[in-house]
């Protein structure tokens, strides 16, 4: 049981922080980048690739760094700290994670290698209008014709779907959900991109007999693979949210110390400082849970259950801190030129993309009678 980063993890954090501080230390720079397509900075993305960040969790034989969940957590937190718009969790953890879990060796080498080098932007087309947070597909169907496959139906919202070089698509096949790769220039693929409220990009993606490659060789139901990789992405988002909440709290505390009203700085008002103290409590409880979930993943424990627990805790904390940060700032907190509201916007997006707190709670509630007590250092979390 050890909650501390080793020296390499510490160095990784310093390096990532340095890179992202240079890119987004000036908040205006983020506004400029998110104001134009593709919503992130291709140069920063390339530098992240040079640093090895985009292949961090992939095996070395597939062009990755062979690092583990703790290193992924370190990077995600730094992304959140400056609200870097580069889609690290989405492209590396989620899209890359699905290819790593379900792809053939050849597919892994090609797609993961491309992601790691920064030459392939992969996006996951899984969410469907009218459903939410299911590990299986229902609105896109796959049809087989000899050795080839084609897809039909609609996916939305697909994060970075318009810019993506390759889409990882979940689709209905006989007996379940399969995963496919679709090239960005495939025939019968219509992508309509738009801005999301947090400065990112999403797309309406229509497949109309679009040629697709089956991910993997056997036509197995991939629902449990999707469930597991979604869980890993939830944990990645938990760390991104922690980074954002940490900055939101520190920014708020700084504001309380400098902003004057009634002739005194705001930190003279106990009604405000007590609320900041409660934000700190929320943050630290969520941070402990997120770090624990990454350790569960690292130990090969029940990552789905751990992700639900982290999701619930960071959802509650993100809403609490996001809302209070704006309120304690006052009117400036809802302006676009000031950073604090952007944190709230991003925390709100993270809270809804892969399952919100109430959703996670329902899942935990369904299993509440299955154990007498929760032992975070015991089964099923220790693997």
């Amino acid at each position: 049981m050890d909650f501390t980063f080793d020296s390499e993890q510490h160095d990784l954090r310093e390096a990532v922080r340095g890179l992202l501080e240079r890119a987004y230390g000036d908040a205006e720079q983020r506004r400029r980048v998110t104001g134009t397509d593709p919503g992130f900075d291709e140069k920063t993305w390339a530098r992240m690739a040079e640093m090895g960040l985009l292949g961090l969790p992939f095996a070395e034989e597939h062009g990755g760094m062979g690092a583990g969940p703790i290193e992924v957590a370190v990077v995600a937190e730094e992304i959140g700290r400056v609200l870097a718009p580069e889609p690290f969790v989405e492209a590396v953890v989620l899209a890359g994670g699905l290819v790593a879990a379900a792809g053939t060796d050849e597919q892994r080498t090609e797609v993961l290698g491309g992601i790691a080098e920064g030459t392939t932007l992969a996006a996951v087309a899984h969410a469907e209008p009218g459903t939410r947070w299911s590990p299986s597909a229902s609105a896109v169907t796959a049809t087989r014709d000899g050795d080839s496959w084609s897809l039909s139906g609609v996916k939305e919202p697909v994060l970075n779907g318009a810019r993506a070089d390759v889409l990882v698509v979940s689709a209905v096949v006989d007996g379940g959900t399969a995963l496919f790769l679709v090239r960005g220039d495939a025939a019968g693929l219509t992508r309509t991109g738009y801005r999301t409220h947090d400065g990112g990009r999403a797309a309406h993606v229509r497949f109309d007999g679009t040629p697709a490659d089956l991910l993997g060789t056997d036509l197995a139901d991939r629902t449990s693979v999707v469930e597991r990789v979604l869980a890993e992405a939830r944990i990645g988002y938990a760390h991104e949210a922690i980074g954002s909440m940490d900055t939101a709290l520190r920014t708020t505390a700084e504001y309380l110390k400098t902003r004057k009203q009634f002739g005194v700085t705001l930190n003279r008002f106990q009604a405000l400082t007590f609320r900041a103290a409660d934000m700190y409590v929320s943050l630290e409880l969520a941070r402990s849970t997120a770090l624990w979930a990454s350790m569960v993943q690292d130990a090969g424990g029940d990552v789905v259950a751990a992700a639900d627990r982290a999701r619930l805790q960071t959802s509650r904390a993100g809403r609490h801190i996001g809302k209070e940060a704006i309120q304690l700032h006052g009117g400036i907190g809802v302006t676009a030129e000031y950073t604090i509201g952007h944190h709230t916007s991003r925390l709100t997006a993270i809270d809804h993309l892969l399952g919100d707190g109430e959703w996670a709670l329902s899942r935990l509630a369904a299993g509440v009678d299955g154990h007498e007590t929760v032992d975070p250092l015991g089964a099923p979390y220790t693997g």
Partner: protein, 391 residues
């Protein structure tokens, strides 16, 4: 970063679990499990059982019975004890005056008091709060005036927990009323509760129990050698004591056990033909409390690993704040599960109301104290805002 306990710590955990579940009398553990008040004899027997095995004061210096454990071992010791329904060593002895004497007392005081304190041959009580000095403890007014070889104590203390059982009291007294800062004029004295001039008056609480007392001092003569540490340094010792108190005060293991009990109670109560435990809203409420408690436990594990020089990590205020809130939330949950049965607090043998439902409301009412004692939760928020956030 690593999740698993080392094999040594796993073995340690197993050793603790085995001891607590086999060596402490079942009848005492049953009393804790059924959430009834323990008698003085039970508390003494339990602590002596632990002390005989070297498990009563593991955090003390080694020469006085300490074990030199890591903070993580301390956490496991406390957690397993609470899960096994073993009463914790009397806090006034084990985590309050004992560490103060061991750290600041004279050699003579250490020899005289520490072995007797660890074995509860002396039952201590705390003389800190006064009617006009609660959270603002430093404004206390009980005085001690030097007269020859004695201090003469006059004044009043309150909220003296289990003072009715106590042999000795450790007391904060004002010894320099002229000190520029009120914190500077305070000293710590220890003296027997049967000293002439000491009067104890019980305070009845809303749960119907007698747990706390008022203590009055009228010209109580205390020998000069009973001053702990240096004159007018008592505030430092008090802060040291309260810091130690905060770490164990979260009572995570105890709340975990109560949540497990609440689940079984919820299976006993039927709503529209099905168990209350199956009600989605009830299941969600329990699941959320379990998750919050787990987050707190993990935070405790993170914080203990970073405490240095025996000084509590500033984030230990989070443990006190959230730990007390969750203890209260769990007792509230049990009252809600009991529903209308929760009014039958004083039912006797002729009642069909189960024991757990009878004790539910008194415990809930009694537990309002936990967000007040040990530095109220508002004091903890002040510490977090000031020390951690720099506000």
């Amino acid at each position: 970063m690593r999740l698993q306990l080392s094999p040594e710590l796993e073995a340690f955990r197993e050793e603790m679990r085995t001891f607590f579940t086999t060596q402490v009398p079942q009848e005492i553990r049953d009393t804790v499990a059924s959430r009834r008040d323990l008698s003085k004899a039970q508390l003494v027997e339990s602590m002596r059982t632990l002390n005989a095995a070297g498990l009563a004061v593991p955090h003390w210096p080694a020469e006085w019975g300490g074990r030199g454990w890591t903070p993580l071992q301390m956490h496991i010791w406390r957690e397993e004890m609470q899960l096994a329904c073993v009463p914790e060593p009397l806090p006034f002895n084990a985590s309050m005056i004992g560490p103060v004497i061991a750290t600041f007392g004279s050699q003579e005081q250490k020899e005289r008091f520490l072995p007797a304190t660890a074995n509860i041959d002396i039952w201590w009580c705390q003389g800190f709060s006064e009617p006009d000095a609660g959270s603002d403890l430093a404004s206390l007014r009980t005085t001690a005036v030097r007269d020859g070889d004695d201090w003469v104590v006059n004044g009043q203390k309150t909220w003296t927990t289990l003072g009715q059982h106590a042999d000795w009291i450790f007391c904060l007294v004002r010894t320099d009323p002229t000190a520029e800062k009120k914190q500077r004029g305070i000293s710590m004295l220890v003296f027997p509760m049967d000293s002439p001039g000491v009067t104890l008056r019980p305070i009845e609480l809303i749960d119907g129990g007698h747990e706390v007392n008022e203590v009055f001092f009228e010209d109580v003569r205390v020998p000069a050698e009973n001053l702990v540490g240096e004159e007018n340094r008592g505030w430092d010792y008090a802060k040291f004591l309260l810091g130690n108190e905060r770490v164990g005060i979260a009572r995570i293991g105890a709340t975990k056990r109560l949540l497990a009990q609440a689940k079984s109670y919820a299976r006993e109560v039927t709503v529209d033909g099905r168990p209350l435990a199956a009600e989605p809203r009830m299941a969600a409420r329990i699941a959320e409390l379990e998750n919050e408690l787990m987050a707190l436990e993990l935070t405790a594990l993170r914080v203990v690993a970073h405490s240095t020089d025996g000084k509590p990590h500033p984030a230990s205020s989070v443990l006190k704040l959230r730990g007390s809130e969750l203890q209260q939330a769990a007792t509230e949950l049990v009252v809600d599960i009991a529903g209308p049965l929760s009014v039958s607090s004083f039912a006797d043998g002729g009642s069909a109301v189960p024991d757990w439902a009878r004790v539910a409301t008194p415990e809930y009412l009694n537990y309002r104290k936990v967000s007040i004692y040990g530095g109220s939760n508002e004091v903890q928020r002040t510490i977090i805002a000031g020390t951690i956030l720099g506000l």
